[in-house]
Amino acid sequence: MFFNRKKKQNKKKISPAPLAGSAKSNSCQQPGDGFDQVINKPLNRRSAVKGLTAGLLTGAGLLNSACSLTSGEAGKGLASLKWEEYFKGNYQLMTPEEKEATVKRLEKMYELANGGKIKISAKGAVKDVLYGYAFNISKCRGYMDCINACIEENNQDRNSQMQYIRIHEFKKGQMNFELADDNFYHQVPAAGHFYLGTQCFHCENPPCVNVCPVKATWKEKDGIVVIDYDWCIGCRYCQAACPYDGRRFNWSAPHVPENELTKDQHYLGNRLRKKGVMEKCTFCIQRSRNGANPACVEACPTGARIFGNLLDPNSTIRWVLENKKVFRLKEDLGTEPKFWYFMD
């Protein structure tokens, strides 16, 4: 059933934000949530037998734990929430009510499992906003305060020391990434060197999105490339397709100490991931969609990082693009990153 579900998703054309009501009237297109996609799908004999067998197997296990005499009230709630979460749809196909429901379930599940309270948002893109980023390579001094802020804000795995941002140290006079030192271990800035940071560039034409077999990653209306962590199957095609080393994979269950957890979360952003899914920079979607700067921009002590709205002619990012000599990495690939580098 698991495989079946994803396979169906792949074949189907994803239509943006369908209405819940239209799901029943139009059975061949099948928009709607995961329940409609999985349970209410039209059956032929073959898929019915296949679905029934797999469903019985998973269902039996979940029901078993839900009705167990030994598990308490809290355990019961968790099991039924897990059950509902298992059958939810792709985030892109959810109605606003379904998004709200899954966010509430995730908050409740965290509370039942860990005791603490978190706040998950499902806030959509702000109208007339397209995010862009500029990085001043004359100003970056390799302090790496941005990386620390990013890890804390985005709840990255502490054990594997996963980092979305990499700071590369180059000898002045060339910019060959094969000769760059990414693990420098000395006082910075070193004489005769310059520093350049990379992360997800949120391409306008993202190759990672095209290769995803289950449509678990996509570009939002405000230009942010996001991942539905609950729909990702962890095939890592996107990691292979990204020409910029922008994506990271969870080889083990991520560990974040409770007291270091950022509790203001977004469904597509810094909520806790699980083992076997992809993650990456989201321009701190939980912050940027509220008007704040990403954590890296806020933490940078040199002002090398500039973030803003590309559609606002008075924004600082637009001034940089119009007045400084900017370049992007691997422009010949046609990926159109929304991440520019410039010099003083």
Binding site: V126, K127, D128, V129, Y131, A134, N136, K139, R141, G142, Y143, M144, D145, I147, N148, S160, Q161, Q163, I167, D182, N183, F184, Y185, H186, Q187, V188, P189, R287, S288, N290, G291, A292, N293, V297, C300, P301, T302, G303, I306, F307, G308, N309, D312, N314, S315, T316, I317, W319, V320, N323, K324, F342, D344
Partner: protein, 182 residues
């Protein structure tokens, strides 16, 4: 008076987003960017200075405090001028010789401490241009308008303006172990 939006009128509702909530506690001063006639804000400086106003201690103008006696007591003994390599600068290059409450331009025009960027801009014209546009310096608050930017003295100590070399804030020990497994 702002126009009152009529209910049911054929108006398009745009979601307004603002960075105001992030700088509510910050005292701000407006700065005009003459290049494109826009306005932005910088943090208030005079409220941040511990010893301001200067007449709490000083009663004389700076020009009358100058002494050649090397053993004379200094009011700001802890301030060492490390700005430009040689001996081009003195206290009175930036601080008004006639009125302790003001900074000065090279033509002796008195400048308010809240507009100190005008003093810096005399020499650092390119940096000032970049700063007004937004390529130099930090944005405080958020990306959304209104823009609130740090001014020169929020990052650079005017007496010792260079940023110091230091160790990076973090080192990825997993990677270092991979490189050198001992």
């Amino acid at each position: 008076m702002a126009k009152i939006r009529q209910q049911g009128a054929n108006t398009v509702e745009y979601e307004r987003i603002s960075s105001d909530p992030f700088t509510l506690t910050l005292e701000k001063v407006a700065v005009t960017n003459a290049e494109n006639d826009t306005l932005f804000f910088i943090p208030d400086r005079t409220g941040q200075l511990v010893a301001f106003p200067c007449n709490k201690c000083h009663t004389k103008a700076l020009s009358r405090m100058v002494t050649r006696d090397p053993l004379a007591k200094k009011a700001h003994w802890d301030i060492r001028l490390n700005h430009v390599t040689g001996e081009e600068l003195a206290c009175t290059t930036c601080h008004s010789r006639d009125n302790v409450e003001y900074l000065t331009l090279i033509n002796n025009k008195q400048i308010d401490y809240n507009k100190s960027q005008q003093v810096c801009a005399q020499c650092h014209a390119t940096q000032n241009k970049d700063w007004l546009g937004g390529a130099h310096g930090k944005t405080l608050g958020g990306w959304a308008p209104p823009r609130v930017s740090a001014t020169c003295v929020n990052c650079h100590n005017p007496h010792t303006p260079a940023l110091e070399a230091r160790w990076p804030a973090r080192l990825n020990t997993v990677k270092i172990q991979e490189l050198d497994p001992k």
